[in-house]
Amino acid sequence: MQLRRLSLENFRQFRNEEIEFATDDHANVTVVHGSNGSGKTTLLNAFTWLLYEKVDFDTRPDRLASEGAMAEASPGDEVTVSVTLEFDHDGASYRATRSAVYEKRSATDFDGQLVDDPSVVVEYDDGSGVTRPNNPENVLSQIIPERLSELFFFDGEDIDELAGIDNQDQIQEAIQNIMGLTILERATRHLDAVAGRFESQVQESASEELRELIAEKRSVEEEIEDFERKKQDNERAIEKVEEEISDIESKLATFEDSARLQEQRTAYQEDRQALEEEVESINDEIRNEIAENGFVPLAMPLIRETAADIDQLREEGVIPSELSDEFLNSLLEAGQCICGRDLEAHSDPYQHVASLRGQVASDGVEQGALRIVGHLQQFADRRTGFFDEVDDLIERRQETHEQITRLEEKIDDISTELQELDTPSPDGVSISEREAQREDKEEQKEELVAKRGKFEEQIETKQAEIDRLETEIAAQREERAETRLAQRRQRAAEHVGAQLTDSFEQLKDKVREWSNKEVNETFGEIAKKELEAEITEDFELKIRQQVGDAQVEVDKSTGERQIASLAFVGSLVNIARRRYEAGSDSEYFRGGIYPLVMDSPFGALDKEHRREVSRVLPTLASQVVVFATDSQWEGPVADEMTAIAGKQYWLDFDDGEGSGDSPRTHIRVEQTSAAGD
């Protein structure tokens, strides 16, 4: 940033004044002479108001508008306050103007009422024409961040604070600021937020729930295994009973008295099995019928409604239609209808034919409708067919069931007959006893089969539970996968944050070392030879004295502290400039060209130190602006600086008391009167 011109309009006691800054490499100092109260601090404030809308006035801080301008205005008039700064930066020329409008509310109102909030306009020209960015505040803040501005626009009377006792924070902050701390802060803040978000995802992790689900699933699986075992035992029992029944029946078939009945029974049983298979095959046919045509009866309302709608379309002549829009258009263009009638534009016949357009269905729709009509009969037939077929099948099934019942009755009858035969069999067990045993076994078998059904049902229920649990577990696992991802991301975010901080810290330490070296040299040039200034590893600006072999920290006078502080500020400006000129591509510290704008920087210095400061500071910064009283200026400062003061101005303050006017300061390029203290 190289300052070109500062223009003031109705800004405090400045009505319409401007300062052009010295830009010559060999005469880079601009001196503004002014007595106390003439407006030096106001000029410093003009910079901060323009750049950041910040002012720091000791007197009447709310009054920004020129008292004189307000006095001259009539109630209801508006007074515009503005500050314009022209400067060069990064190869472009800038013009930034902040303005505020005040309205005078009454004859005695000298403060004015702010009409619009102050707004800033920035224009720049980098050779490709004037650009007016939408975000002027950001543009200015990027060129010279507010925190940095405190380093370069400063009141010399406060500067010694840097070298005060508890100054580490300020020194560190100054170094961080010039390095462009905002980038790190923003990155760190974002990374923290990101890591936090991932962490809360991790905390919301449902791992506890997942463990419970898996445990539950395992326990259900064990129950299923248990049922499976019972079912297997049950099946073995059924097989055993069936074998026993079969054994008994074989024996019964060998005895003369029971052989005929047993053979009959076996035949009936075979018949029954065939009938049961028949039932199953009927069921298959019913299923087939459902799959093939089950939807047809249910679809009838849909089909009928659609058929009626299509019929309506037919009645309206929409389908089937030989008329197409294309055909109608050709008639309209030809001006004659197919019936021979003239079709004059806007005539009734014309309108009628035209209105037919869009009513006819497209070919696809017509085909679609006709396809439906073509299948209507099939729907009607199949609907009837379905009911006929299913009714028939159900009837057949019913009959088969009845046959089965009749066979079972016959089988029961045989059993009853057998139980009435007391004939002892050759092995000593009577036929009736044997049949009774068989009946017992049949009952056992029935019970076992019923039990098997229950086991199967239980297994099915448990299996459904497993399915449900597996779905939940899969969902949880997916969440867990997200959790693990979140954890990795959290760690990555923390890692990046740590890396950023670390590399920033390293760079900061390097800057501290550079600054330390600079400060030492600068301080050495200015201060008494036996004193040395240093920026310690703890970022303290210390002044030490060589006593024999040892370095002793000494109590510093205000003047010495001021020198150390100026040396420090100067070192930063110098480092930033060198960094900028070296074309650093570091993320943090690109450096930059910054002017030093100092109000009364020589206040506490004795003559000799003033001389040294005056000599050294202009070598550190590319541009120096000094506000000084005559007494600060005269003597060694003037000796050193006059030659390099490219521009000099005098603040000519008129308190207005003599003429009854309002206080006002003119900025003059020549000294008209002594600027006293």
Binding site: N283, I286, R287, I290, A291, G294, F295, V296, P297, L298, A299, M300, P301, L302, I303, R304, E305, T306, A307, A308, D309, I310, D311, L313, R314, V318, I319, P320, A361, S362, G364, V365, Q367, G368, A369, L370, R371, I372, V373, H375, L376, Q377, Q378, F379, A380, R382, R383, T384, F386, F387, V390, I394, E457, E460, R468
Partner: protein
């Protein structure tokens, strides 16, 4: 012709009707059947998803539906009735949409009607279909459809 897939809600009922008891041979048959049930029972799920606990979705090719003439007809009729627009009769995207939406509604109804009972659902399905028979006397339907078909025939033959 690009392949169009119908994304539909597939409940346990699908497995029960196809895999377990083989009432239907293919999932797309169940899909069309349930779409018809949905329309019949005035149950439609816009977006095609039900609230059921079995939120599994699957896909069926629209080509499968078209492979059977009457299925194709059902799809066209559903789309037409749903939109009121004759163009929907031949709009594949509409066919795809209405099948999924009515099948989801039909699935909900069918779950209530015959999905709850354990065991073979065949008879429950038959009972349900037969229960809807009384709503439409056989003669009426045949007569009306016949009349419409004849009207078209006459017109196509140029009798009107």
């Amino acid at each position: 012709m690009p392949k169009i897939n119908i994304k539909y809600q597939q409940g346990e009922l699908y497995q029960k009707l196809v895999d377990e008891y083989e009432v239907f041979d293919h999932y797309y048959e169940v899909l069309v059947f349930l779409a018809v049930v949905g329309y019949r029972e005035d149950r439609v799920r816009r977006g095609g998803l039900t609230d059921g606990d079995d939120g599994k979705t699957s896909e069926a090719g629209l080509q499968n539906v078209y492979s059977r003439d009457l299925f194709h007809t059902v799809a066209a009729c559903l789309a037409f009735q749903d939109t009121g627009d004759p163009e929907a009769l031949v709009d594949r995207e509409e066919h795809k949409r209405v099948i999924a939406e009515y099948a989801a509604g039909g699935l909900e109804f069918a779950r209530e009607q015959f999905g709850q009972n354990a065991g073979d659902p065949t008879d429950a399905v038959v009972t349900y279909i037969k229960s809807r028979r009384e709503d439409e006397p056989d003669g009426d339907i045949e007569g009306e459809l016949k009349r419409i078909v004849e009207s078209f025939d006459d017109e196509m033959m140029g009798y009107e």
